[in-house]
């Protein structure tokens, strides 16, 4: 599903955020990406979303080279990906419910379906009581759960989650992981970047470790 060949990313300051990364992630796999802060986890996820372009090497998703996509294809690729941003990226002007419903709205899904599916995923993240709040009224942990809900609501083919439990206590973290596992059991490929080794052990899936942009361990 996801393949990288000698992938490197250099930001403007000349630092290799990723260096010669060759990885293959199967369809339906659940994989943790771990490593210290600055190891390159977020960079790899952003490359997969086409939010950045690789400096060297190639990146394939579903057999297609991402750097060859036209702008319209990039947008449609992004719609097939559920992304949980480390900084949530919620639209402040929308209620949190609208934030989630929006990703279906732009797909032309009718209002009734939007609401049904949003309610469904909303129960999963345990935020039934806060649907009409605005992002700024929510705690970091609550916003994070909204971001998770938005990533899952469209039944994406791939979920890319950047530290999705960074602001949550262990119980909630495991609940979120359960949501990802549920999606995974329905065939979604899941890639979670985290440095939370405790949680990685609890969930017990394949792990790729990064250090200074290089792959250091695969288990």
């Amino acid at each position: 599903m996801i393949e990288t060949y000698h992938l490197s990313k250099v930001y403007s300051r000349g630092v290799y955020a990723l260096r010669d990364v060759t990885l293959s992630i199967d369809k339906g796999e659940f994989l943790f990406l771990t490593g210290a802060s600055g190891a390159g986890k977020s960079t790899l996820l952003r490359l997969l979303l086409c939010a950045e372009q690789p400096t060297e090497g190639t990146l394939k998703v579903g057999g297609r080279v991402l750097s060859d996509l036209t702008p319209a294809e990039v947008q449609s690729h992004r719609r097939s990906v559920g992304f949980v941003f480390q900084d949530f990226r919620l639209v402040p002007r929308f209620t949190v419910f609208q934030n989630v419903a929006f990703v279906m709205r732009v797909l032309g899904v009718d209002l009734a379906t939007q609401q049904r599916k949003t309610f469904q995923v909303w129960k999963g993240v345990g935020l039934q009581h806060r649907m009409n709040a605005y992002p700024e009224d929510l705690s970091g942990g609550e916003q994070q759960r909204v971001a998770v809900a938005r990533a899952l609501v469209n039944d994406p083919q791939i979920v890319l989650a950047d530290e999705p439990t960074g602001n949550l206590d262990p119980d909630l973290s495991l609940e979120i992981m359960n949501l990802f596992r549920e999606a995974n059991s329905r065939g979604t490929t899941v890639l979670v970047a985290t440095h939370d080794l405790w949680m990685i052990r609890r969930v017990g899936r394949r792990v790729v470790g990064l250090e200074h942009g290089r792959v250091v361990e695969v288990s």
Partner: protein, 294 residues
């Protein structure tokens, strides 16, 4: 359909959030369309006036005294076969005198002292409306002048041509002025839309990242421009109509009858549609250009 609804809702919300600057850009386009519309009302009425006048256009062919019946009939037939002639009426010397007495009773007394009737007989010719082509009539006038038995031909329509030319110039001025104001209005709209866009930069980035199609990202801004333009057009039409219909009974109608114009009319439905369409179009275009980098 959903896209349109989405764009409309978002645009209306954005318009409301920035209602101060929206008011400004709506006002500028309203002024531009008001000026254009006012010129159109004036020029279309003047044009109609010129048409009514030229519809009543007459040419007088004065006959030499003592011209015989057959020669006169030949002249009449000749005139009737001409394509720009609608009717020919013979006015005898006596009829001309009677008419003169009726029109100028004071002068008639001096004339009455004369031995002989000095007024010539004439053929009064009604011409087809000459809006556009004047060449055939000019040709007819020249030909009549050379006919035997014709003393003179009076056809003085240069001023009508001048009027028509004046109307065209006036219309050109109106269009240039309106066009310049529309351009200014388009720039104002584009700036207001760009302002709204800058304020929502973060939001737009998020929309891109969640894969919103360009139409969804840009649509609201194009729609916002269109709303500015449409509202401006409606405002311009309302003010034009208010001014026109309040001035009509006391000012415009008396003016029209003084000018021999049957009535003054407001913009034709086609022009109303064109003005609304113009406003919408300019607004759309401005929004579209402003959201290039959305």
């Amino acid at each position: 359909m959903r896209l349109l609804r989405y764009a409309f809702e978002e645009a209306a919300a954005s318009l409301w959030r920035g209602r101060r600057s929206s008011l400004l850009s709506t006002a500028t386009i309203a002024i531009a369309l008001f000026v254009t519309g006012a010129f159109l009302i004036v020029t279309s009425n003047l044009e109609r006036m010129a048409e009514e006048w030229s519809g009543a256009a007459e040419m007088s062919v004065y006959l030499e005294d003592g011209l015989g019946g057959p020669e006169r009939s030949a002249l009449e037939r000749d005139l009737r076969t001409d394509a720009s002639v609608t009717s020919v009426e013979f006015i005898s010397k006596e009829m001309a005198l009677a008419r003169f007495r009726q029109t100028f009773p004071d002068l008639a007394q001096t004339l009455g002292g004369m031995q002989e009737n000095p007024l010539p007989a004439s053929l009064d010719v009604r011409l087809r409306s000459s809006s556009g082509e004047s060449a055939p009539i000019d040709a007819l006038v020249t030909r009549m002048r050379t006919m035997p038995g014709v003393a003179d031909v009076r056809y003085d329509q240069d001023w009508l041509d001048r009027l028509l030319r004046g109307v065209r110039v006036l219309r050109l001025v109106g269009f240039s002025l309106g066009g310049a104001l529309l351009l200014a209005a388009a720039l104002t709209i584009a700036n207001v839309v760009r302002l709204a866009l800058t304020a929502r930069r973060d939001e737009l980035d998020i929309m891109h990242l969640v894969g919103a199609p360009p139409a969804y990202v840009r649509g609201p801004f194009v729609m916002e421009g269109a709303l500015h333009g449409g509202m401006g057009a409606l405002a311009a039409l309302l003010v034009l109509a208010a001014v026109f219909f309040s001035a009509r009974p006391h000012v415009l109608t008396p003016l029209a009858s003084a000018l021999n114009l049957s009535s003054v009319s407001f913009l034709s439905p086609l022009l109303v549609v064109l003005i609304v369409g113009g406003g919408l179009g300019v607004g759309c275009l401005a929004g579209w250009v402003a959201s290039r980098r959305a």
